[in-house]
Symmetry: C2
Amino acid sequence: MLGAIEAGGTKFVCAVGDHLGHIADRIEISTTVPGETMKEVLAFFQKYSIDAIGIGSFGPIDINQESPSYGFITSTPKTAWKDFPFVQTVKEAFGVPIGFNTDVNAAALGEATLGAARGFDSCLYITVGTGIGAGAVVQGNLLQGLSHPEMGHILVRRHSEDSYKGTCPYHGDCLEGLAAGPALEERWGDKGFQLAERSEVWELEGYYLAQALMQYILILSPKKIILGGGVMKQKQVFPSIYKHMSDLVNGYVSLPELSEYIVSPGLGNDAGITGSLLLADQALGRELEGKR
Amino acid sequence: MLGAIEAGGTKFVCAVGDHLGHIADRIEISTTVPGETMKEVLAFFQKYSIDAIGIGSFGPIDINQESPSYGFITSTPKTAWKDFPFVQTVKEAFGVPIGFNTDVNAAALGEATLGAARGFDSCLYITVGTGIGAGAVVQGNLLQGLSHPEMGHILVRRHSEDSYKGTCPYHGDCLEGLAAGPALEERWGDKGFQLAERSEVWELEGYYLAQALMQYILILSPKKIILGGGVMKQKQVFPSIYKHMSDLVNGYVSLPELSEYIVSPGLGNDAGITGSLLLADQALGRELEGKR
Ligand SMILES: Nc1ncnc2c1ncn2[C@@H]1O[C@H](COP(=O)(O)OP(=O)(O)O)[C@@H](O)[C@H]1O
Ligand SMILES: Nc1ncnc2c1ncn2[C@@H]1O[C@H](COP(=O)(O)OP(=O)(O)O)[C@@H](O)[C@H]1O
Ligand SMILES: [Zn+2]
Ligand SMILES: [Zn+2]
C-alpha cells in the first residue's frame, strides 16, 4: 500500500492508496507546528502497512538529492516550518522509500498520469489560490534544475488602470502579488467567492494570467495547461484568459484550440494527493531498481 | 565521420568532425535560396564519408518526429525557406541518420556537453543577435514540448524612459522587439559595435535582459546560463544584467554567484556547429539502437 501526504500551508491531506490513484482512506489535518501536525500525520499511516510514501509539499523545499538539506522545507515564511527535515522525519518513523517534491509538481504528475493531461508527456499545472505556483512535467519527468520552478513570481505588465500595489513581500507586483486570491480580495474589497458577479474582477484576472501563460508557453511549450486552485473556481476567468492570450500571442506560435489546451484539473481537488501517491510509487520503483 | 550544419539566416556553417567536437574541415556559405545554398552544402559533404549529419537550424522548424511536416522549416519570414523540407533534402542526398533541432538548442547541447556548462545536466543558451532565441538542456535532454521554445518573444516591462516602439512584427515591444541588435541600432541610431562607449545603451540592454533571465530562472531553474550572439560581444552588458537581476529577484530564490552563473559561451562562436556535431552523434546512436 502506498502513502501520500499533500502538505499545504493551511492543511495537510494524507491518504493511502495505489499507483492507479485509488484512494482507500484519507484524512485532513490542519497545519499548525511540525510537532503537532506531524504527530497526527504519522499516526494516520501507523494504521497501515505502507511500502512507500510520497510527499507533495508547500515550499520552498530542497529537492536536490545531492544537497545536505535534501528533504527540508527551506526558507518558508511559515517560521515554525523553516528548516523542517520533512523527508527525514517520515523516513525515521517508517523506514520506507520516500518521494519528495513540491505540491504543484505532484499535482502536475497526477494530471499528466491520470488527469486532464493523461497521454501527454508534458503538462503544466498552475494553482491560483493563496499563492500562485506551478509544476511541470517535461518529456515525462518532473521539471527540476538548480531547484524546483517558482513560476508564480514572474513579472507581468501592469494594466494601465490597475494601481493596486501588490502583495508580494519580495517583488510587490509580480504575478502572485497582483493575481493570487489575497491580492484579488484586497484590491476589490471582498471575499473571492463574493466577487463572482463583478465581471471587471475576472476580466483583469484573465489579463494577468494570460501574460503568465504566454511566458510559460514560449519558454516551456507544454502540451497541456491545467489551472487549479480556489480562484479558478470562477470559471469566467477562462474566457478572459483565452481572449487576452490570443491578443498577446498574435499568431506567433500555433497552439491547439485554447479551450482544449488550457483547462481545469481532470482530478478536481485530488490532483495533488493523487500525484503524491505517484511520487510514492516512483520512490518504490527506484528502491527496487537499487538506484537510491 | 560526423557532419554538421549550422543553418543561420545570414550564413550556413558546415563542418565535419567527431563527437568530441573536433572539427576536421569547415565551410561558410551565405544563405540565399534553398536551391543555391543547399547545392553548396551537399557538395561540401560529398567529399567525405559521412555517418550521420546534425542540423541546427534557424526557425521556426518542426522537430516533432510524429508530425507530417517533421524536418521542415515552417513559418519563417524568409519566404524562400518557408516549408523547406530540410531533413528530407539532406537525407535524400546521403541516406544517413539526421539529427534536427533549432540552432539555439544545438548551441545549448554544445555548451552543456563541451562548453561552459560541461558537467551540468541543465543549461540555458541565449543568443542576442539579429533576433533573440534560446535553447535549453533540461535533465540531460534538449527541451521540447508541443514545439521548441520561442523564448525571445517573452514580454518585458518597458523602462519608464524608453519610448522606442520595438521591432517585432508580432508583438512590437516583446524582448526581441526591444533588445535584439536591430532594435538597439534603430533606437540609438548607430551600428552595435559603434555604440560601445555609450554606457546608457548597455545599461538599458541589461535592464531588459535581466527581466528575461529572471523569467527563465523562475520557470526553468537552469544550472548555468550562457549568453552569446553579436550583442553580447559588449561585455559591459554583463554587470548591468547582474545588477538588475539582483534587484529584481530580491533574494527570493538563491542563485550561484551571478558572475559564475551567467556567462559567455565556453565554445565561443562554435557552440552551434559543435552542438550540431553532437546532434549527428545522437542521431547515429538512435539508429544503432534501432530506435528510429
Ligand atoms: N469560490 C471561489 N471564488 C473565488 N476565489 C476563491 C474561491 N475559493 C477560494 N478563493 C480564493 O482562493 C484562495 C484560497 O486558495 P485555495 O486554492 O483554496 O487554497 P490554498 O492556495 O491555500 O491551498 C482564497 O484566498 C480566495 O481568495
Ligand atoms: N561587436 C558588436 N557590438 C555590438 N553589437 C553587435 C556587435 N556585433 C554584432 N552586433 C549586433 O548583433 C547583430 C548580429 O547578430 P549576430 O549574432 O552576429 O548574427 P545573427 O544573429 O544574424 O546570427 C547585429 O544586428 C548587431 O546589432
Ligand atoms: Zn513575488
Ligand atoms: Zn515578438
